[in-house]
Amino acid sequence: MRELLHATMSAVQAAARCLRGATFLTLPDEFGQARRLRPLSDRSSRLLAVVRLTSIVALILLTLDSAAARATDRLIFTQVPVRTGRASAGAHADAASAWDLSAGSRIVAFDPSTSRNSVTVLTSDFSAAGRPDLSFDGKRVLFIGRHNADDPLQVWEMNVDGSNLRRVTDGSGSVREAIYLSTLYTLDAEVPFYRIAFDSDACGMPGGCLYTCRLDGTDVRQITFDPNGVSDPYLLSDSRLLFSRWSGAEVAGSSQTGTGGTGLLTVHIDGTDVFPFAAMHEPPAVRSMPCETPDGWVIYVESPVGSPDRGGSLVAVARSRSLHTRRVLASDPDGLYYAPFPMGDGNLLVSYRNTTTTSGGSYGIYTFDRSTGTRAARVFDDPRWHDIDAVVVQPRRVPAGRSSVVDERLDHGFLYCMNAYISDRDEGKAISPGRIKRLQVVRAGSGGAQAQGGPGRPGIGEELLGEVPVEADGSFFLKVPARTPLRLRTIGPNGEVLQAMRSYIWVMPRENRGCIGCHEDRELTPPNRHVQALRNAPHAVGIDAERSRRLGREYEKSESR
């Protein structure tokens, strides 16, 4: 922005200098000394003044445009072909659907310093390609693509100039997005190792799941198990993986079905500790395409539920207090924002299209001034293409890595709660001490809540895994199957359900997942108490005891080595 301002000021100063010289033409003589020419006639003067003013305006416009380009350095982005003659809704659909890149989509490079509206195609061999993510050193690009229209989209990697293309994943499902992660470290690893994350429908859940793998595509691990489906992974600077999760009733906070939209959650890159991040108690909408600015704000796009195009308003929350700092950065009734990207100065690159045109418009790339909430300048726009997912080619800081207790050799994890009476929900607050007697653990079956209408409703395919006692202080301690979507219900003295989770959680192998209460205030910290449940062995629920023992023995044997 500062560069832009500087360029504008230079142009204005140049214009002022020109205007001051309106009466006389001043040219250098043969010795390089300025000499004043004789005055022109009034008519000639007026003509010259018009020419001069026109030149000044053109100069300012040119300066603004080139300044904007300079502000972004080299860009890589996706171009999705605009199909002419389609209705606005159709334009929405083919413009920027995050779920399926249409045929002809491609990744291009654009260098504002050398070209204007001229791009270099980096994925010419692909039937469709898009969603570029830049490596931390700014030298490689991760993207999804397919050579043939019938192939599933997979993860690929290439250098920023398009060379050294290689395929990373080779799974059965179709990948929608892939990003670089920082390092993961486990006790059985020699050193921390880099991974990538991607969302894929290989898990069979309608909305898809998040996976991670090594950079060479090996060691694939599923890290989300929510039957509602997740998407839009983004690595925060503090090592958490932010993602968008479809919800049924949870977001709505009521019993309405199928219109939950998405909320933003975080999970560690080892799949542990899934936790709400933002938009958990707000009106239904789709929150997607999050990114984090250097000053700690997370920007995402919010669009109405049911909109085929996920373009919408730009919303910001502070990473440090994401559940309570929501503010709308830009909401334009005449247009849609798409795929914000944080620039080093705290401002954004963002795609925008004007929806008031008859064709529905095409996305172009703009700089966005966060302080004013406006698009500052157009960087690139080719009306034949939707220009989206822009990234600036430059190194960026590597987010913190993760050290993990997860051990893939085991099949169970643990879940403990400090006090089930702690709750911020009305029904939870109304439970008097001592009333919670037991706890039911329910596992989600196949199928997704999004398709079926939300957790707990007919068709979701739930199975009661078991029922265990709750201690007098409200604590409980469970040993549960890992990598399994679970819901918990507290049961009263007469067998009545006192409180039921509206969404699913899971534990990873060897994870000790701790909860303070049953849907407590998410900013509450645990009371410093040694709770009764932790004085005993955990209650095993839904565990194949023999298999678990065998794995445990093998595990201990390997640990002792």
Binding site: F275, G296, R321, A400, G514, L524
Partner: protein
């Protein structure tokens, strides 16, 4: 206290001491002293008929002492946290000389310590042996066995082991860079009464730096004692008082001439210092002694010593001048697995007595304290460590939260957090309130920031809140701080002390690991200057490690640093529930980091052979949860930790062990019980606790496992009250024949200053180790000890 009363007290004390010395002389005849090798050789040499020593390397052993004078010895001392000269260090002398454990009092005039490792190292002090032989008239059949140890080659390993410090210096050629001595490390500061000068205490520089506040330039640097911590200025501005935590002293400085007037002794590890409103009385908190010295500023003598809480840290004078509040970093001893309760000690400044003790529940590490001008309300910095909650995650403030306490005149202590949900405020270390009482500045040592707190908003929020909100929500809520924290200002590395200028226009922050003072302009809360205190630009490996140790950048959400549990490299007095050995099980006592490099293996399970291992993979996986330290970071961190100094032992008189301590040493080293039966090796203290650090540096089985140390079928305990964890829990293990614990043998140096004890912190005192938790005499044979023997043993342990 009147002068005449003081005289009487002094006289009485002298009489007591003299009578004790007389007692020593009288009874020491029954206890062996060291006679020296020359006396031994009078008989035990080839020409005298007695069997000479079979050891063929006597001469080499004798030269061991000489090596302590070499340059390398100084470097070894530096990298192993030894504060004394090697020739004077009990640790070094433990292997390089004889009799150092007992001290000069127990060395006869014939003994020469410069003879290095002598006969009595293996055979024990020989005076009784010599005396018995003499009294027998030279009869060769006198009862030698009762008077001298035969010596055992297996004991050689107490010294002949690989020591990381020695390997580092002697084999790898490591040298502490000379520039390392030049760091300043400013920790606390004060503004002169006229507002013109800033006095900055520099812990590493062992100095007080005088800064011109107007020009922001260093005017002078005054050398004080070792590791100064705090400074107070007399109300008239003429005198400066600096506490020296390593020297256990107070340096008195003439402010006009900027010269040291005198250095007077105080208690163990003095930290905070403060004068009363009149300037007549001086209060010094002795952190490791849990006491407060009250000094007369005229005579500079200690008038009285008051009992503080645990780990008194700093002080503040109430604006009316009547009371002084003292913060305490360690919680009071309590029941096992009770949440920590820390004390704010209240002193009547006029009478020099403690009037009351306020309690901050669920809090520890109470450090900074400041009153809000014009009120009787004080603010204190604190941690709310969740030591009873398993460390299984860090989100939601799961492990440590950081906050402020509001101490009301009636003793109520409300608490609020300075953390945000994903951005903590680690290690709040000091607080200062602006002269107009509107703003409080709090330093965060772990995040290099200062929080600007709107005091009005804070107090309004609390006074308007319900009791439930005050007691249960605010102390545990990560979102509350947005209501009263206006801004976080980035200052320098590891900010500690903070002070306002007299006019309140500026605040000054000691950036301890940048050797600078940040100047914050208080209208815009921006740093307008960094005053360079003159430390070197070069950052040594040790210094880099020190920065890592004090930074929370390597913990998820910047929740804590190493220092959060190890203030001054020591302990926080808590036990923690670590995930690795089971949730809810096996709580582990936090152990000191002072002078530990040669005491490995580490961890209570003894599974980490080196500091690098200790701070490496498992720390990242089970504590910080972010990427582990890089190899170079790990080396730097381990290097720094190894240099954390072990303060001199205050229970150990410079002239040597007292009579009781020496008797305790005899009990410690005994091989036969009181009834004459031979003790099994594992029943002897020295079997595991030997060598200069009193550790075998290995693991040993010990039957002090309790029911919460391991996951077992607890139906048995359903019949009982599980809270009676002690004997009942151990009884279960003993009766069922379950395997004993295999634990690291802890070193015992300065063991007196690191309660609680045992691997799970279940013993609040040294005495409780045996009175409550040694049911079958598996942790040394103690059931036959007389009360005096037991007390002597404790006295000896405290001297180690």
């Amino acid at each position: 206290m009147t002068a005449s009363r003081l005289k009487v007290l002094t006289t009485l004390s002298t009489l007591v001491v003299l009578s004790t010395l007389g007692d020593v002389r009288a009874q020491s005849d029954e206890l062996p002293s060291y006679v020296g090798q020359a006396v031994c050789q009078e008989c035990h040499s080839p020409g005298h008929g007695r069997r000479p020593c079979l050891l063929g390397t006597i001469a080499e052993h004798n030269r061991a002492y000489q090596t302590l004078g070499k340059l390398e010895a100084g470097h070894i001392a530096l990298v192993s946290g030894v504060t004394e000269k090697p020739e004077e260090s009990r640790i070094c002398l433990g292997c390089h000389a004889t009799g150092s454990d007992a001290g000069p009092r127990w060395m006869r005039s014939t003994f020469n310590i410069a003879d290095g490792v002598q006969c009595e190292t293996c055979h024990g002090a020989g005076s009784l042996h010599v005396a018995t032989y003499s009294s027998s008239g030279g009869n060769p059949s006198f009862d030698r066995k009762r008077r001298i140890s035969r010596g055992n080659r297996s004991e050689c390993v107490a010294c002949h082991v690989n020591r990381p410090s020695h390997q580092l210096v002697l084999e790898q050629g490591y040298r502490v860079p000379p520039v390392h001595r030049l760091y300043k490390t400013p920790v606390n500061l004060v503004v002169s009464p006229d507002g013109g000068l800033l006095y900055v205490v520099c812990e590493h520089g062992n100095s007080l730096i005088v800064v011109d506040r107007k020009t922001r330039r260093v005017l002078d640097e005054i050398t004080v004692g070792k590791r100064p911590h705090d400074v107070a200025v007399s109300p008239d501005g003429q005198r400066l008082y600096v506490t020296n935590r390593q020297s256990d002293s107070l340096t008195v400085i003439d402010a006009t001439s900027r010269s040291v007037v005198t250095e007077v002794p105080v208690g163990d590890e003095p930290h905070g210092v403060l004068t009363d409103a009149t300037g007549k009385c001086l209060f010094v908190v002795n952190t490791q002694e849990d006491s407060i010295s009250v000094l007369d500023t005229k005579t500079l003598t200690e008038v009285t010593r008051l009992p503080a809480g645990c780990g008194p840290w700093s002080l503040a004078l109430r604006p009316d001048g009547n009371f002084i509040y003292v913060t305490n970093v360690r919680p009071r001893p309590g029941r096992f697995r009770e949440s920590p309760r820390s004390e704010i000690t209240v002193i009547n400044a006029d009478q020099g007595i403690i009037t009351t003790r306020f309690i901050a529940a669920d809090a520890n590490m109470l450090e900074g304290v400041a009153f809000i001008p014009g009120t009787d309300v004080a603010l204190i910095t604190l941690l709310r460590t969740k030591n009873l909650v398993p460390i299984t995650r860090l989100a939601q403030g799961w492990t440590i939260t950081n906050g402020l306490g509001i101490v009301w005149p009636d003793g109520r202590v409300d608490q609020v957090l300075l953390d945000a949900p994903a951005d903590h405020f680690p290690d709040p270390m000091d607080v200062a309130v602006s002269p107009d009482g509107k703003y409080a500045f709090v330093t965060s040592g772990g995040s290099d920031q200062v929080a600007v707190v709107d005091v009005g908003k804070l107090l309004s929020m609390i006074t308007a809140a319900s009791d439930r909100d005050r007691e249960a929500i605010f102390p545990n809520h990560l979102g509350t701080s947005t209501q009263f924290v206006i801004k976080r200002v980035a200052v320098g590395r590891n900010p500690r002390g903070v002070v306002f200028s007299r006019d309140g226009r500026f605040a000054y922050v000691a950036n301890s690991l940048d050797d600078s003072v940040a100047v914050i302009e208080t209208t815009g809360y921006t740093v307008v200057n960094q005053i360079d205190l003159g430390g070197p630009d070069e950052i040594t490996e040790i210094r880099r490690g020190e920065r890592l140790f004090h930074s929370a950048d390597n913990a998820f959400g910047r929740q804590f640093s190493c220092r959060s549990c190890h203030p001054d490299g020591h302990i926080n007095g808590l036990t923690h529930d670590i995930e690795a050995d089971g949730v809810g099980l096996s709580p582990v006592d936090n152990r000191t980091l002072r002078g530990i490099v040669d005491t490995g293996p580490f961890k209570w399970e003894g599974t980490n052979p080196s500091l690098s291992r200790q701070c490496g993979p498992r720390l990242a996986v089970f504590f910080t949860r972010l990427h582990p330290f890089s190899p170079s970071e790990l080396t730097a961190l381990a290097r720094y930790i190894s240099t954390i100094e072990r303060p001199p032992n205050r229970y150990r008189p410079s002239e040597g062990l007292t009579l009781a301590q020496y008797r305790g040493k005899v009990v410690f080293e005994r091989t036969v019980a009181n009834d004459g039966t031979l003790l099994r090796p594992e029943q002897r203290c020295v079997h595991c606790h030997h060598g200069p650090y009193q550790t075998s540096r290995g693991k040993t089985p010990i039957r002090n496992k309790m029911w919460f140390d391991e996951l077992v079928d607890l139906e048995f305990f359903d019949l009982f009250d599980r809270r009676s964890f002690g004997e009942l829990g151990m009884y279960y293990y003993l009766q069922t024949g379950r395997p004993p614990n295999v634990l690291d043998v802890p070193h015992l140096t300065n063991v007196y200053d690191s309660p609680p004890y045992l691997h799970n912190g279940s013993a609040n005192t040294l005495e409780e180790i045996w009175t409550l938790f040694n049911i079958v005499d598996d942790h040394g044979m103690t059931k036959d000890l007389t009360r005096q023997q037991f007390n002597d043993l404790i006295a000896y342990l405290k001297s180690l």
